[in-house]
Each structure stands twice: as C-alpha cells, then as structure tokens.
C-alpha cells in the first residue's frame, strides 16, 4: 500500500524534473552565449608570438595605430584626438569592422583594436587583453507605420524562427491594423564565431527560419525594414538613428522594456545588446604604456562620449552586478 503510493509520486517528480530540464535546455539552446570563456586562449606558434607589432603604411610613423569598428570609431575619436594632443603623440586611427580589427590584431599591425562584439574563442590571442567599454542596446526595428510597439522575447523568437509569420497572429493585432499579414524578417548574421549580439536572439543561423531574408550590411538592414511595411529586423540604436531613413523605422520594446532606457539594459529587462571592447597587448615586446594610458583615459572619460551612441559604460554595469574579469565583461548579472 505504502509502496503503491510512493511509486507514482516518484514517477511524477521524475517527469517534472525531466520536463523542466528539457525546457531549460530548450531555452538555453535558443539563446546563444553572451560571452566566451576568457580562460581559453587561441594557440598560435612561437613565430607569431615573437613577431613584433609593425604598423601598416597608413600608420608608419605613428606612436599608436588603432583599428576601430564603425561604432567605436566616431564615438572614441574625439577622446583619442584630445589624448594625443595632451600627450603630444601621433595616433593614427582607422575605421573598419570587427573583422578588420581582428585581422589587424592577428597580423600584428595595430596596437589597439576596437570591437563591437565580445571576443570569440578564436579572438583571444596570446598576450592580448580585452577592456570592456560598455554595452549598447540591440534594437528590434519595425516599419514606422507598423502599429506594433512591443513584443515578448518569445514572440520575437517565434517570428524569427518562422513560427509566427503573420502580424495579426500577435495578441492585440487585427487584420485592419496592418494591411497584409505576412511578416518579413530581415537578418544580418555577422560575426558568427563571436558570442553575444544577434546570437542572444537565436544562437545560430540554423535556428532562423529558412524563409527570412538575409542582408549583408547594416545599411541594407535599415533600408529593407524602412521600405517594407511588414519588415522586422535588428540593429544598434545609433546605427538606426544615423541612417537617412531612420524616421521610417522605429525600435520597439521587448517585454515592455524600452531599449533606449539604460536601466532596462543594466537590469537585463531588455535582453538584447552588443558589447564593446578595445584591446591592448600585454606581452613585453608589444606592450606600450601609452596604449594602456589611452585605455584608462577613455574609461575615465566615458561620460563625455556623445549620448547618441547609447553606450552604457562599464562602471554602470559593474554597479548593476555584471561579471568582470579584470577589465573585461565576461558575464551577465547572476
């Protein structure tokens, strides 16, 4: 009698644990990693490690050669120029992308690299240190005429996975509120080997619906959503706002959280963001004091960066309980 009662209970507990485990696994499988393991350093041969930093032609006589992505370049340039003037240094800065910065770092032609993504495992090169400057919201954008202004994270994932392909299927939407039903999501699957960014929405390219339209550039992303009444896409707010058609798109809330509100990001109420890092060399032949001084200078003057770049500085993240290893952001609040 006693055994008869215990057995169903044990089965029930087992089923509950199994289902919760499955759900947890499913959720984890959808959301990609926000950061890579800082302990894993990509191995490169001795010849590479012994190779000194040699500037390219564009920075031949410079004290520092810096390669920055297209978000950090305009944001940091005034501070870098001011620092160079104060220290009487020649600092050459080149605008590029994460890939270009990674390329310069790999070929050892730049003293500092700037990235709009957290480092992937392959980006952690021997002797290279990452300094997190901050994060910025990755806005979900829809056409400005679209009445939708808020989606849950689940709805968003369902849309990009192709499970919801019609606006009227969303709660509160009717056929009349938007002429045609078909949702047209646009994706830009950049930096696939790096964590964070779009991978916080869906971990990998195979999780996205095969019917989505893939674009190659930020410009194409904003242009397509601006030109498509039913379009939806994603991009950091600064890139959206500087686009000539910025008034034809709007960023919407996720789970009721506005991406423009920094508090929503620090509390993770708004869950999509990009991480901005710059790198310095720590190994003896490549280590430059002025490079570290510049990084410190930038970190100390983050509040002077124009607010339109929507950068939430690392100091705020530290206060909000985000995890850091030395200067690098490595984890979300527990």
């Amino acid at each position: 009698m006693h055994t008869n009662k215990i057995l169903p209970c044990l089965i029930l507990v087992f089923l509950l644990l199994f289902s919760s485990s499955c759900l947890a696994h499913g959720k984890a499988a959808l959301r990609g990693p926000a950061f890579s393991d800082p302990a894993k350093i990509y191995r490169l041969n001795d010849a590479w490690q012994k190779k000194p930093i040699i500037h390219d032609d564009w920075a031949q006589d410079a004290d520092l050669a810096i390669s920055l992505d297209q978000h950090l370049y305009p944001a940091l340039l005034p501070l870098i120029k001011r620092f160079a003037k104060e220290k009487k240094l020649i600092i050459k800065v080149q605008e590029g992308t994460c890939g270009i910065s990674a390329g310069k770092i790999l070929e050892k032609s730049a003293d500092i690299g700037g990235f709009c993504c957290p480092p992937g495992e392959d980006d952690r090169l021997p002797g290279l240190t990452y300094h997190t400057l901050g994060i910025a919201a990755l806005g979900i954008i829809v056409n400005a005429q679209n009445p939708v202004d808020n989606l849950t994270m689940k709805q968003l994932r369902d849309i990009f996975q192709g499970r919801i392909n019609c606006w009227k299927l969303l709660p509160g939407q009717t056929e009349t509120s938007i002429d045609s039903c078909r949702i047209r999501p646009f994706i830009r699957l950049h930096c696939k080997s790096r964590p964070g960014h779009w991978r916080l929405l869906l971990d990998n390219e195979d999780l996205f619906s095969p019917r989505l339209q893939e674009v190659g550039t930020i410009r194409d992303m904003v242009s397509n959503v601006a030109g498509q009444l039913h379009g939806i896409g994603y991009e950091v707010l600064w890139h959206i706002n500087k686009h000539e058609q910025h008034d034809m798109v709007k960023s919407i809330k996720i789970n009721g959280a506005d991406p423009a509100n920094p508090a929503n990001l620090t509390s993770l109420a708004y869950p999509l963001y990009r991480t901005f890092n710059i790198t310095t060399w720590e190994n003896a032949p490549d280590k430059k004091t002025v490079a570290h001084q510049l990084v410190t200078y930038i970190q100390d003057h983050m509040d002077e960066i124009d607010k339109s770049f929507n950068l939430i500085p690392a100091i705020m993240l530290r206060k909000a309980g985000w995890q850091f290893k030395d200067d690098e952001l490595i984890g979300e609040p527990q």
Binding site: T97, C98, D220
Partner: protein
C-alpha cells in the same frame, strides 16, 4: 537745378556715341550683352549641367553600387552555403564515411590534386548551381590537407597551404575575406563529422577575389555597368567586371582619369579582415558625350528663346524711338508757337539724347520766359503808383510791392510779409475788411473798397482796394490793388464844399429873381391901380401874369433840389391854380384836368413853355367860357417818340374864329405863343373841336425824366 545748354553740350571724348541713333546703339549693346550672356550662360549652364549630371549619377551609381554589393553579399553567403551543401551531400558522406577515402592510402603531407570532379564533390550539374570556387580543399581531422580539386592548372599557393589552420579558423562555419600573399581570397570552411559527431575533417572552399569571382558574383547586373573592387589599403583595383577598361592592379589615380568614380560602399560583415570598397564607375567620355548632348539641346532652346524675345524687343524699340521723334517734334512746335522758338541745332542722331536736349532747351526757354515775365511783372508793379499785395485766404501777406510797403508805413518787407493785413487796418475798418475778404473769396472779386490803414506812427491813410481772387496750386490767393486816396478824398471834400456853396448861391439868385419878379408884379399891380383905361389895366394885368408865371418858375427852381430843372407837371398845377384864382370873381367855375408825365425841364425850356401855357390859359379864361356855365380845361404834357415833348391844351369854350390865324394875329398873346414856340424849336397847331385845342410840340433836348 540750373540747366545750361552750352555746358551740357561741351564736347567730350565720348561724344562720338552721340552720332549714332538709339536704335543702332541698343542693337550694338544688345548684341554685346547677348553675346556675353550667351557665353556666360553657356559656361554656367555647362557647369550646372555637369554638376546636376554628377549629382544624379552619384545617386544612381550609389544605388548601383549598393545593388552590386548586395549581389556580392549574397554570393559570399552562398559561398558558405555551397560549402555546407557539399558536406551534406550523400556523395560526400559516402566517400568519407562509407568508402575509404583515397588519402588513407597516402602519407600525411601528400596531397591528391584532382582536375576532374572528385567523388566527394557533387556531380557537375549540381556543382554548377553552387557558388563557383577555384579550390575545393579537403583536410583530415589532423588539419592535414589531403585532397584538392581545382579547374586551374595551378598548384595551391604555398603560403595558403602553410597558413591553412589559421585560415580555416577564420573561415570556420562562415565565409570570410582575407589576404594571402597580398591577394584577397574568399574562404569558407565546414567541419564534417562521423555518426558519433567525431570530427573527420574540414571542407574548405577557397577562391581568389578576382575578375572571374566578381563577374560570377554580380552576373545579374548589366555588363554595361562598370563596377570595381578597390583595396582600401593599397587603393588598387582588386577586380572589375570590365577588365578591358579597368585592369587588375590599376591605381585609383589612373581610374579617375578616365572614369567618374561615384558610388562607393564597403563591407561591414565583421568576419572579413579586408576593407574593400565597392565602386561604380562611368566612363568620362560617355558622361561627356551625354553632357554635351544635353548642352546642345540647351543651346538650341536658348537660341530660340533669344530670337523670340529679341524680335518683339526690337519692334518695341522702333515703336519707342518713333514716339520719341514725335515728341521731339511736338516740343519744337510748342517752342515756336508759345516761346522764343530758339532751339539749338543738334549734332546727335540719338533720339533720346535729342529729346533730352530739346526738353532741356524747352525747360530753359520756359525758365527764361518765366524769369522775364516775373521781372516784367515786378517792374510793372514796382513802377506803378499803386500798391500791390498778394494775400492768402487768411489775409496773410505773400508778396507786395514797394508802394504797398510805403502805404502801410512799414520800414521793410519783413514787417509785412507773413503778417496779416488786419495788423495795419484801422480798428473801425477791420470787420468791414474781413467781410470784404470773405466776399472776395466767395464771389471772386471786390471793387472800390475804401478803408483806412494805420501806420505805426498812428497816422491814417485812406486806401481804395480792388481785389481779385485766383486759385494757385489748389490754394485761393487774392491779388489786391491798393490806391492811396488821401488826395482824391481831400479834393472831393473840397469840391463838395464848393458845390454846396454854389448851390446856395444859385438858390439865392433864383430866390432873388423870383423876389424881383414879385416886386415887378407888385409894381405892375400898383401901376394898374393907377391906370384908368380898362385896356391899360388889362395889358398890365397880362404882363403881371406873365411875370408871375416866370416868377413861379424861379420859385420852383430854388425850392427844388435840382437848381437847374423843375418838374413841369407840378409847375402846370401851380400855374393853373394861380391863374384860376385871378379869374374866380368874373367867370363861371373852370375845371382843370391835368395829365403830366414826370418830366423836368431846364429853365431855358421851362420859361418859354410856362409863358405859352400862361398865354393859352389866360386866353381861355378871357374868351372861352363867357357863355358857359362851367368851363373845362384839359392839359396834358407827354413825352412822345423819346425825343419829343407834346403839350396839349384844350378847353370847351367857343373856340377861335374861323378865319383866325396865329401868324397874322395882332394879339400879343398869340405872338408870344408863336415866338416862344419858335424859341423852343417847336411847332404850334390849333383847331376848333368842341372848344379850342392847342398842340405844342418841341424837342426834349434838355428835359429829364
């Protein structure tokens, strides 16, 4: 402004331009302006057209570059997708998992090169649908390159082989662009696993980014559109779809010489360590030809517009010059007719200048005439002995002459100009003066107004004012002629006094004559008292009556206001009364019916006429009514035919004898009648018709009505 014709026409070095007509000059100027405008407009329009074209091309080519880049993006993605498709093919799995791969038979480091499709790749029909790769590399799980398929008769670049692990790391699960041996390559890698998810190896697709690659990537674009990939670091062409024009390795500077480089964008994939610009280009000769064609069209349109605008302008010009000529002629005629007509002979053929000269001459003439007129007027009013003053409607002095200044007794014009005339008008004349001024403003003139002016010293000057109101520039002004009438007034007073004295004297004379005649009458009466014969008494009595009738005239004269004439009607009544009184005791009653116009006769006519009437009345009393119980005498004195006076006398008596004749009568009375009528240059008629009827008519030379 003073116009001086002589100064105006001083010769200058630019006088030659006066020789030509305005039509000629405007045509020349218009031609120069049109030419200059044409050249300027051509230059400006050309530049604007080029700028516009450049802007439009820029926009178009930016879109073009974007379109081309989107195609390139897709191709890049498909490069990675192709890799994944190959790995997922059954042929690939069979080769690696089912069959024993060929490299198993070889040593690591020994690479099998395939020039034909190897068994691990899809069949050509499938492979053609995928992105074209120059190299298909198969690595084992230990990162050793084992097999290579390439359609190029080339070995794999050594550096590529050596850096294979790094490249595969960069391209893992994605397509990336990187440089190998200084040349850009597109690489995509995909791991493949056994059934237990154990890595068996990696498939890497690798292709140099060159003209072929670019052509494959953008084959959807029209070949006419030139695009090129530019290395941001070296600024050299990596690839182009028009290698005939844009060769690999061409520098940007070289390209810019023959192309307009407008559209430009670069990749922001984040997985590429190369910064490559995608540019669209337009050959300059095509652009120039297009610009020139548009420019030519613009030129033709400009020419037509110029012609359309110029012809009416010329017509208008000739119309204007024709009107100018007519206007000049009218001025000449006006000058000749109303002014001196002395127009200077002009050397110019310019109608406008000629008109200007004529107009200036005319103005000069008018000014000259006006000045002369003013001088004449001033001289006239200054030389006359009459005061002249112009006042406004309030009586304020606007202008005056010296005489007026003297009349007012003021020292200078400052004391009267802008002063009111009432200031020097005598106190008791001010109202009258004011009323007269108002009357003049209403009726237009005032004549012979006599008032007194008071000088500052207190003396009074009587003046006579004749004024005329005129309107000048919308304002009423009064022109006044002022005469000092002090002497005239004094002379008039003297004359008046003299006249009064003479009147008294004359009245006295008439009175004395009358008195003397009364004395004569009295004397005759006394004489008749002493006469014994009745005839003598009668003669004296008749004489006395005659004297009395003359006395009565003098009495009437000195009693009348006019000492020269007497009202003859009154005289007839008085005379007939007097005569009737003298016969009341001896005769029947006599009725007088007198009808007389209001006629005054001078003494020269009155005395003869009175004596005639006396004779006729006395005669009637003596002879006419002896056998009648009642006598009747009708007397009328009328003016007829303006210059003729008729005295009719009629009684109802016995009349004259049938054979009676005045001329042959010995009666003194009848003789007197006849003689006195002759003295009056008149005629006498009589007839018997129910009594005696006399008609005396004489010219009314001195009579007054």
């Amino acid at each position: 402004m003073t116009l001086s014709p002589s100064k105006r026409r001083t010769r200058t070095p630019f006088n030659f331009y006066r020789r030509y007509s305005i039509n000629t000059k405007i045509i020349v100027v218009l031609t120069i302006l049109l030419g200059a405008s044409w050249i300027s407009l051509d230059f400006i329009q050309g530049r604007q057209l080029k700028r516009l074209f450049t802007e439009q091309l820029n926009v178009m080519l930016q879109h073009h570059a974007q379109e081309a880049r989107i195609l390139f993006d897709k191709y890049t993605r498909s490069f990675h997708s192709s890799n994944k498709i190959i790995v997922s093919q059954k042929r690939f799995a069979d080769y690696l998992k089912v069959k024993t791969p060929r490299w198993k038979e070889r040593e690591p480091g020994e690479v099998i090169f395939h020039q034909q499709i190897p068994p691990w790749l899809p069949k050509p029909s499938v492979l053609r649908t995928l992105a074209h790769s120059q190299y298909y590399l198969l690595f084992d799980s230990a990162n050793n390159l084992r097999e290579v398929y390439t359609d190029q008769e080339k070995d794999l670049p050594t550096s590529l082989r050596n850096s294979a692990p790094t490249l595969r790391r960069l391209s893992h699960n994605q397509a990336t662009m990187t440089e190998v041996d200084g040349r850009p390559f597109m690489i995509a890698s995909t791991n493949f696993y056994d059934t237990e998810h154990k890595a068996l190896g990696t498939l890497t697709l690798l292709s140099p980014i060159n003209n072929d690659f670019l052509y494959s990537a953008i084959e959807g674009l029209l070949p006419a559109k030139a695009v090129a990939l530019i290395n941001d670091k070296t600024h050299l062409v990596i690839a182009s779809n028009r290698p005939d024009m844009i060769g690999e390795g061409s520098s940007m500077e070289e390209i810019k010489k023959i192309f307009l480089l407008t559209g430009k964008s670069f990749f922001d994939y984040g997985v590429s360590d190369l910064k490559i610009h995608f540019v669209s280009l337009v050959p300059k000769n095509e652009y120039d030809a297009l610009t020139s064609a548009a420019h030519e069209i613009g030129k033709k349109q400009r020419a037509i517009i110029t012609l359309i605008m110029t012809l009416p302008l010329m017509a208008l010009l000739f119309r204007i010059t024709s009107r100018l000529k007519r206007l000049t002629k009218t001025i000449d005629l006006f000058s000749k007719k109303y002014l001196s007509g002395k127009q200077n002979v002009s050397q110019t053929h310019d109608q406008l200048l000629l008109l200007e000269e004529r107009f200036t001459d005319l103005t000069h003439e008018i000014i000259q005439t006006n000045v002369e007129s003013q001088n004449k007027y001033r001289a006239l009013i200054e030389t006359t002995d009459t005061g002249f003053v112009i006042v406004d409607e309030e009586g304020m002095v606007l202008d005056a002459n010296q005489k007026y200044l003297r009349i007012t007794g003021r020292a200078n014009f400052g004391e009267i100009i802008d002063h009111n005339v009432q200031e020097w008008t005598a106190e008791d004349n001010k109202v009258r003066h004011f009323v007269a001024t108002q009357k003049c403003l209403k009726s237009g003139n005032v004549s012979d107004l006599e008032i007194d002016y008071e000088t500052p010293s207190g003396s009074v000057t009587p003046v006579e004012i004749n004024a005329q109101m005129i309107e000048q520039e919308g304002q009423q002004i009064i022109l006044c002629l002022i005469r000092d009438i002090t002497e005239r007034k004094e002379a008039r007073q003297k004359l008046k006094r003299s006249l009064a004295e003479k009147e008294v004297l004359l009245r006295e004379i008439h009175h004395r004559v009358k008195n003397n005649m009364q004395i004569i009458s009295s004397m005759l009466y006394l004489q008749s008292m002493k006469a014994l014969e009745p005839e003598t008494i009668e003669v004296i009595k008749d004489s006395r009556k005659r004297v009395q009738s003359m006395s009565l005239i003098h009495e009437k004269l000195y009693r009348s206001n006019d000492l020269a004439c007497i009202n003859f009607g009154d005289y007839i009544k008085s005379l007939t009364d007097e005569i009737a009184k003298s016969y009341t005791s001896q005769l029947c009653p006599v009725q007088f019916n007198i009808e007389a116009d209001n006629i005054s006769l001078p003494v020269d006519s009155a005395i003869p006429c009175g004596l005639i009437l006396n004779e006729l009345t006395t005669n009637s009393f003596k002879y006419a009514f002896k056998e009648l119980a009642r006598g009747e005498i009708n007397i009328s004195f009328r003016r007829e035919a303006r210059q003729k006076l008729i005295l009719r006398f009629k009684d109802n008596g016995t009349g004259l004898p049938d054979n009676f004749s005045v001329a042959s009568s010995s009666s003194l009375g009848m003789s007197l009648v006849q003689n006195l009528t002759n003295q009056l240059h008149g005629t006498v008629e009589y007839k018997n018709k129910n009594g005696l009827q006399w008609t005396i008519s004489f010219p009314a030379e001195h009579s007054q009505s």
